[in-house]
């Protein structure tokens, strides 16, 4: 691929966010994915979500593993550092980066292969640590980059392009994350920007591990008849359970929502998520009941979408670790070294 710089023409009528930046300012390099790839829509939604939250580009770090999906961290917010690491190991990079500087917004992008096969262990442990990051799985049921092998999220009976039928049960990242104690779990569809953008925003503001599993059809290897991750199939079997509107703290005063229909969840920074439930009995704050319901729907072949579970009370990694508010990477020597006097004291134990 060659780098084709896009002319940055400032159009006076382009809307600006609180920082005075336009959507253009949050773009990255041109995507090299196949035309129509679901991942590109997610990139667009991420750009929109980050712009909408008025995050400073340099205060974002974009992390990924390897795969078509993992490439996309280059395609948004070029003013942020990006790290395209090795296959399945992005969570550990995110852990280290967050340990060094807790004050950046970590955006992780992964694929279903990257997360659910080679990287399953790291994914689980990032959840256990409640690592403060947004973790997006661009889930297409196949390994796109290695040309269409089934991934661990492929459903039983789903057919590959050449007709082969998948026989093994899928690993559902949503159910897995719920069972591991994740504090924010959502599912969406790359084709539903209206649902996805507020979910991404809520995930970015969530303090802790925010998983969003985004069904993201691979037009080249998994968009045919017989696939359960195609555009057509997803549209048909996609069932919003909870609508989540994200209301940033700054807008809170002017937000107008009808009491009763909505259930507000207050986030750490004062922002709110207004949940509107489509499924009457669904309770996204009850882990056990919600898991049961998701499982039930999955059995019927329906992907329940929306903000499926949220717990704003769980402590994230740094709260548990007791690190200071200022980033560790900014500490200076006096705070780190006991000096010669300290060394003398220490050595007395070894005489």
């Amino acid at each position: 691929m060659t780098f084709i710089p896009k002319p940055k023409v400032r159009h006076p009528s382009l809307p600006r966010n609180a920082l005075g930046l336009t959507r253009r300012d949050y773009e990255g390099v041109l995507s090299t994915l196949c035309a129509g790839c679901g991942h590109d829509s997610i990139t667009a939604a991420l750009t929109e979500a980050i712009w909408g939250l008025s995050l400073e580009p340099q205060n974002i770090a974009k992390l990924s593993g390897i795969g078509c999906s993992s490439k996309t961290t280059a395609y948004f917010v070029s003013g942020a550092h990006g790290f395209n690491s090795v296959h399945g190991r992005m969570p550990s990079i995110a852990m280290g980066a967050s340990a060094a500087n807790r004050n950046l917004a970590y955006v992780g992008v992964s694929g279903d292969g990257d997360t659910l096969s080679i990287g399953l262990g790291q994914f689980c442990h990032a959840i256990r640590r409640n690592l403060n990051m947004l973790y997006v799985i661009e889930n297409n049921g196949v390994y796109g980059l290695t040309k269409g092998q089934f991934s661990a999220s492929a459903d039983i009976g789903s057919r590959a392009k050449k007709g082969e039928e998948n026989q093994q049960p899928p690993i559902d990242p949503v159910l897995l994350a719920m069972s591991l104690g994740a504090s924010f779990v959502a599912r969406s569809f790359s084709g539903d920007k209206a649902q996805l953008v507020p979910l991404l925003q809520a995930g970015l503001r969530h303090r802790g591990f925010a998983l969003i599993d985004v069904l993201s059809p691979c037009v080249t290897f998994n968009d045919h008849e017989g696939s359960t991750k195609s555009y057509a199939y997803t549209r048909e079997h996609y069932e919003p359970a909870v609508n989540a509107d994200f209301v940033p703290f700054e807008r809170e005063i002017v937000a107008d929502y009808a009491e009763g229909e909505t259930h507000p969840v207050v986030m750490h920074d004062g922002s709110r998520i207004l949940l509107r439930k489509f499924a009457k009995d669904y309770d996204p704050t009850d882990r056990v009941a919600a898991s049961g319901y998701i499982q039930e729907r999955l059995r019927q072949g329906e992907y329940l979408t929306g903000l499926l579970y949220i717990d704003e009370t769980q402590r994230e990694f740094h709260e548990v670790n007791g690190t200071p508010d200022a980033p560790l990477n900014g500490l200076h020597l006096p705070a780190l070294s006991p000096g010669s006097m300290g060394l003398e004291k220490i050595l007395s134990r070894y005489r």
Partner: protein
């Protein structure tokens, strides 16, 4: 067998204690070693323990060495045979004229088969059973009791032992009394039944002032704290675990804000070594000094990430406390068997900067150097210690700290520089030293770049173009060349007499080599000595190799890994290099080296040497 009469060997002998692990013998052995050290006598202590928690044979070797030869000599003068299972073998190991101490509560007729050693029976179990209650206490006290026997036989100062116990059990004064009681039981019994002290015994010296007894893992963990490392991530593995434990306990003491209780460090037990190194890279990429400690199996697992760090140019410090391989090998035995894998770990053309500390003192200083080098060179730096250095207490010079020291954070562009730039490019060789400039996230949008392990241009963009790819990998070669001048220089000791024979060694072989050189000198065999301390090899190594006719490469692995590295990375002709390979899992001994050298280089026929002198 001993060439030197016993009475001339005051402060110069070896005690070996055979016990069963999990029976508290470690505290008795440490107590003995420290009591000797506090008497001003140089001492070496080595623990040979099984990969097991309780019930298998374990040995502890204490060498009292007035000449400060802190290596294994290869002989045993006094055996304390506390383990019935290994009695026979232990008894055979004692040198002629030596002593065997055993628990005479039960008869051991098998012990009396040797005429050339003195057998000393002390009813340790009986003494303890009569004086202590509880099975566990009796077992523990039996081990403390032999320390008392040795105190009498070797003429150790009981007051020093009490003082040491009082320090160890500062919070449990009752334990001081019961331990002292056990010591006194053994001491009194020995005094009453044997001629004390033995001809082999200790006499106070003043040679340990300005020295400490410390293990390499503790020293390295301490170094990591002094270097300013703030993120430590690891997955437990013998023999590296105590390095991380040390770092954490030092940080718990010195890095916790007294007002807020907040911790100025993050200590992360990872789910495996893949995650451990990933955490290190994420943290270093983000500007924190970060490190991990592991052993061979962990190095294998981390290898994919090493390649990423090499190619994407991310600093990282890795302590590899080597143990016996291949595979799980012998986890509690020592070797220098990761020299090759660490130098070239990962697929593709990769090379890594390695440091080879020879003792705990160097573990401390090299830990600090490693962080500076990693950030200066923007690459992983491996510190290759081993189980012998890492887990045994070594006598070394006091560690020193210069309060004027500042970390070398390398070429990280600060905000003032970034704002002046037209545009930032990550991989340009602006200074002609192969080292590019980097920026940290969170500083300025202009500083942003994309880190990737896939092909990239010097501007940081993705590429599959031949020329663009080669520009970057060729610069990495230049960077590695720069590293030659930055890694610690070798220690060279010329023989002082004309000789064209050289010895090259690295790491923990040093003590044994030095002692061997002394012995050989006494026999008229002279050799120049170079101890390699860093990879890539510096010019000094090339020069030394060129000057010798014959070079013994002494190392602790089967496949002559150091020799291979020398043939690969220096212009030396292969035929010049003779390997002396020690890979039993025990630390190399001086007698092994003497024997190996003599097999090739004949001693001057000035003095006859008894063939039995070098077992």
């Amino acid at each position: 067998m001993p060439a030197v009469p016993a009475q001339d060997r005051v402060n110069d002998f070896v005690i070996k204690i055979a016990t069963v692990n999990g029976t508290g013998s470690a505290s008795a052995n440490t107590l003995l070693m420290k009591a000797i050290f506090r008497s001003g006598i140089p001492v070496m202590g080595k623990n040979y323990f099984p990969s097991n928690i309780q019930g298998l044979p374990t040995w502890y070797e204490i060498r009292v060495t007035k000449d400060a030869h802190v290596a294994r000599s290869g002989r045993v003068d006094i055996m304390v045979a506390m383990n019935a299972e290994t009695y026979g073998k232990d008894a055979r190991e004692v040198a002629t004229g030596g002593y065997l101490i055993y628990d005479s509560t039960w008869p051991r007729p098998a012990l009396f088969t040797r005429e050339d050693i003195t057998v000393i029976g002390v009813p340790l179990a009986k003494l303890c059973n009569e004086n202590f209650n509880g099975v566990r206490t009796r077992i523990l006290m039996k081990n403390i009791c032999y320390a008392g026997v040795l105190a009498a036989l070797l003429d150790l100062d009981l007051a020093k032992m009490r003082e040491l116990l009082a320090e160890t059990y500062a919070k449990k004064p009752k334990l001081v009394e019961s331990n002292m009681q056990a010591i006194q039981l053994g001491y009194d019994y020995a005094k009453a039944h044997f001629a004390c002290p033995l001809p082999l015994h200790c006499a106070p010296l003043d040679q340990t002032a300005g020295h400490i007894l410390i293990d390499g893992n503790t020293a390295a963990g301490l170094g990591a704290m002094f270097a300013g490392a703030t993120v430590g991530a690891w997955y437990p593995i013998t023999p590296s675990t105590s390095l991380m434990d040390a770092y954490k306990s030092f940080c718990d003491k010195w890095r916790v804000d007294p007002q807020t209780g907040r911790k100025n460090f993050a200590f992360i037990q990872a789910e495996d070594e893949l995650a451990a190194i990933g955490i290190v890279l994420g943290a270093s990429w983000n500007g924190a000094r970060s490190f991990t400690a592991t052993s061979g199996p962990g190095i294998s697992l981390m290898s994919e990430f090493f390649g990423l760090a090499y190619y994407a140019e991310i600093p990282a410090v890795i302590f590899d406390v080597q143990r016996v391989g291949p595979s799980t090998g012998m986890p509690t035995r020592t070797q220098q068997c990761d020299l090759m894998i660490c130098a070239y770990a990962s697929h593709g053309d990769t090379k890594h900067v390695c440091l080879y500390p020879a003792n705990p003192e160097e573990c401390f200083y090299f830990a600090i150097a490693a962080f500076d080098l990693a950030e200066r060179l923007q690459t992983p730096v491996m510190v290759l210690s081993d189980l012998d250095i890492g887990m045994n207490d070594w006598m070394c010079r006091d560690l020193k700290w210069d309060d004027a020291w500042q970390p070398d954070r390398g070429k990280v562009l600060p905000l003032e520089e970034i704002v002046k730039l037209e545009k930032f490019y990550r991989y340009l060789d602006k200074d002609d030293d192969g080292i590019p400039y980097r920026t940290l996230p969170g500083v300025h949008p202009k500083a942003a770049y994309f880190t990737r392990g896939s092909g990239h241009t010097q501007y940081g963009a993705y590429t599959e173009d031949a020329t663009d790819y080669q520009i970057v990998v060729d610069r990495l070669v230049r960077k590695f060349h720069t590293a030659r001048g930055l890694v610690p220089k070798p220690v060279i000791e010329m023989a002082g007499t004309r000789t064209d024979v050289g010895i090259i060694a690295a790491g923990s072989s040093d003590g044994a080599v030095r002692e061997a050189l002394d012995v050989l000198r006494g026999m008229g065999v002279h050799a120049n000595y170079l101890r390699v301390r860093g990879f890539p090899f510096n010019d000094e190594v090339d020069r030394f190799l060129a000057e010798q006719r014959l070079v013994f490469v002494i190392e602790q692995n089967r496949d002559a890994q150091l020799r291979s590295l020398l043939t690969l990375e220096t212009p030396v002709e292969k035929s010049k290099l003779r390997s002396l390979l020690h890979y039993s899992g025990m630390p190399i001994s001086s007698s092994f080296i003497v024997k190996g050298v003599l097999a090739e280089v004949a001693p001057k026929p000035l003095r006859a040497v008894s063939p039995g002198q070098f077992p």
